[in-house]
């Protein structure tokens, strides 16, 4: 079942939560809505579900208009950030709820409901917990009950709001891999909201990066990571170093660096910003003409197998952080206070007036 989001806008008072959003989600995709808090991602998810009214625009699920439909007719499975399990019901009753409340004619017989619920509980590996109450479960278990409950009604799409947000780090990683596996088995069109770029990049088929009510970029995880469409996306998807410079004739000059920047060939002499990820910076002992910047080592922090080196460029720009392996550190035999050369391996140049 595909989802088409067409020209959706939403205001809360004078705050524009969503500004003319357009997005297509294909059948069977697992899509991440990624953005900082306040970017509108949860609002968009709630509008798809029918939990929030849009001020303008259309939602189509499987080519059918949804805005005018009542929430119960939309057949969406929604999993809340804090699970919203029914406190007064057991795990079994929670999962069975959607089947039990169907109108008499459409309600499956009791033994069929029981069978279905146990099947789902097996799927989420909670068969032995059927008679427990939500308060007797761990966070990860609750999350899986919420998922089973949403799946019980055979939804056309599955929507998850910060599905791992309330879990501790280890369970989080475990559960997101499990969710990916589950999706590969069920192939149900799914959308989840997250503010954690690792989560989005690891789990999703497609990542939608949102900021201030707009979509900044849509693409596969590698595409958005390797080719960020804006400084915001670059910045949001990982630690980044910023270099200021100028561009003219399709070549950016940043300090002693000269970077081929053909996409800006039409731009007259302008201020630019170069973005470099920490792990795309190497450190060398010798200068390489036009591709390195002289700097001084300020601090060296070893974090497990990686080493973060803070460097101060000699041209007075802000501090730069390089991420190198321990092997490389040993090879270079760096000492704090030494003069070295920063060698960016990959620089992305944006015109200065972009704001982060």
């Amino acid at each position: 079942m595909s989802i088409n989001i067409v020209n959706i806008s939403k205001k809360f008072g004078s705050f524009e939560a969503l500004k003319d959003i357009n997005l297509t989600i294909n059948t069977g995709e697992l899509v991440a809505l990624l953005g900082p808090s306040g970017s509108g991602k949860t609002t968009l998810l709630r509008i798809i579900a029918g939990l929030e009214y849009a001020d303008a625009g259309e939602i189509l699920i499987n080519e059918r208009e949804m805005i005018s439909r009542k929430i119960r007719e939309r057949k969406v499975g929604f999993v809340f950030q804090h699970y919203a399990l029914f406190r007064n019901m057991t795990v079994f009753e929670n999962v069975a709820f959607g089947l039990k409340v169907r109108p008499r004619g459409l309600r499956p017989p009791k033994n069929e409901i029981t069978g279905r619920v146990h099947e789902l509980l097996r799927l989420v590996q909670l068969e032995s917990h059927a008679e427990r109450y939500p308060r007797q479960l761990s966070g990860g278990q609750r999350q899986r009950v919420a998922l089973a409950r949403a799946l019980a009604v055979e939804p056309s799409v599955l929507l998850l709001d910060e599905p791992f947000g309330a879990l501790d780090a280890r369970v989080r990683i475990e559960l997101r891999r499990w969710l990916r596996k589950l999706h590969d088995e069920l192939h149900i069109t799914s959308v989840f909201v997250t503010h954690d770029q690792d989560e989005a990049l690891e789990v999703a088929d497609k990542v939608v990066v949102m900021n201030a009510g707009r979509i900044e970029q849509t693409g596969g995880p590698e595409e958005v990571y390797d080719n960020p469409a804006s400084p915001f996306v670059f910045n949001f998807l990982g630690a980044v170093n910023i270099f200021h410079g100028r561009v003219h004739d399709g070549c950016a000059h940043i300090g002693s660096l000269k970077i081929d920047s053909r996409e800006h060939v039409d731009v007259p002499d302008t201020m630019v910003v170069g973005y470099v990820r920490s792990h795309d910076i190497d450190i060398g002992r010798t200068a390489t003409g036009g591709s390195s910047i002289p700097a001084r080592v300020r601090t060296i922090h070893r974090v497990g197998n990686i080493v973060r080196v803070e460097l101060l460029p000699d041209d007075g720009q802000g501090a730069v952080e390089a991420e190198i392996t321990r092997d490389r550190l040993n090879e270079l035999n760096l000492q704090e206070g030494e003069g070295v050369h920063i060698r960016p391996k990959k620089v992305k140049v944006f015109i200065e007036d972009y704001q982060i």
Binding site: R72, F78, F86
Partner: protein, 307 residues
């Protein structure tokens, strides 16, 4: 001793003092005794005296006072009044708390204050307004007389006055509980295909059942025990428009103390049962809901120091 050691000892001492900070034992004993003395004098003794007075002429007189014709009709009227007032205010409480706790709208806090109004009004005035509404000088009275409908100095006015004074009880317990439960469970139920009523009965109502029961218990106690408001509108007709509290007054003013205290003892038992039921609900629901203001719940067992 050098200064460093002195400082260390002072620090350790202060730490030790701070670890179990409280008043000296004699102060604790005096304060606790004062509190117990007051509770004994103002609560236990009056409660005990009701039963003592009721039984001071023996069991036989006691039971005779209760099965006497007027007493029985007073009991019946009290039960009828509560049986109408409590369900009405229960339904109102559920409706009002749904609107107030589940939705945001302008004037919400003003509405809550309006619901609290009857608590602020003197019982006598609570009765008096119905005299003004239905009495012989009122706008309604020609119409009522033409249709031979008797409201004032009859059962309808007693019920109305009781509904008025017990009006806020259920709503004010339910609103905070329902608001604290949030809207997410209801939203889930809707996405799972449940309709409005199914969502309300299967999700909302079970989630507030203890708050509801709490409100009903308090509402019932007040409905059965209301004196001032009912006194104004009842007309004090023995055996007809006298509720139990009014019957107690009538007997007391006739210097029939034993009978007065016998009927009063039933009301005192109602109070004791109410307190026990309240404790039970607080215990059952501990941590799941917090009753409001004049009946605040707290855990008392775990805190405090031994005397």
């Amino acid at each position: 001793m050098n200064d460093a050691i002195k400082q260390t000892i002072a620090f350790v001492k202060s730490k030790k003092a701070a670890a179990r900070i409280t008043e000296p034992l004699p102060v604790r004993i005096i304060l606790t005794s004062l509190a117990l003395l007051f509770v004994g004098l103002f609560l236990v003794v009056p409660l005990v005296s009701v039963f003592t007075m009721a039984f001071n002429k023996g069991m036989e007189v006691y039971f005779a006072s209760l099965v006497e014709q007027d007493a029985l009709s007073a009991i019946k009227l009290t039960l009828i009044t509560a049986a109408i007032a409590v369900p009405l205010n229960l339904l109102f409480g559920l409706t009002a708390s749904w609107a107030i706790a589940k939705f945001e709208f302008r004037g919400k806090y003003f509405l809550i204050s309006l619901i609290d109004l009857p608590f602020a009004v003197s019982p006598v005035i609570s009765g008096f307004i119905f005299v003004l509404l239905f009495g012989s000088h009122s706008l309604l009275s020609p119409w009522l007389e033409a249709h031979d409908i008797k409201i004032l100095f009859a059962v309808p006015a007693i019920v109305l006055a009781t509904v008025f004074v017990t009006f806020p009880f259920v709503a004010r317990e339910l609103i905070p509980v329902m608001a604290a439960n949030g809207n997410e469970e209801e939203e889930v139920a809707l996405t799972l295909g449940a309709g409005g009523w199914k969502t309300f009965f299967r999700v909302t109502l079970p989630g507030v059942k203890w708050g509801l029961l709490y409100g009903v218990i308090l509402c019932n106690a007040r409905a059965m025990g209301e004196f001032g408001a009912v006194s104004v509108v009842s007309g004090h007709i023995r055996g007809e428009t006298a509720t139990m509290p009014l019957h107690v007054e009538i007997l007391y003013n006739e210097y029939n103390f034993t009978a007065a205290f016998a009927v009063a003892s039933l009301l005192a038992m109602l109070a004791v049962v109410t307190l026990a039921a309240k404790k039970f609900v607080e215990w059952k629901s501990s941590g799941r809901f917090t009753p409001q203001l004049n009946t605040e719940r707290r855990e008392s067992g775990s805190s405090g120091v031994d005397l």
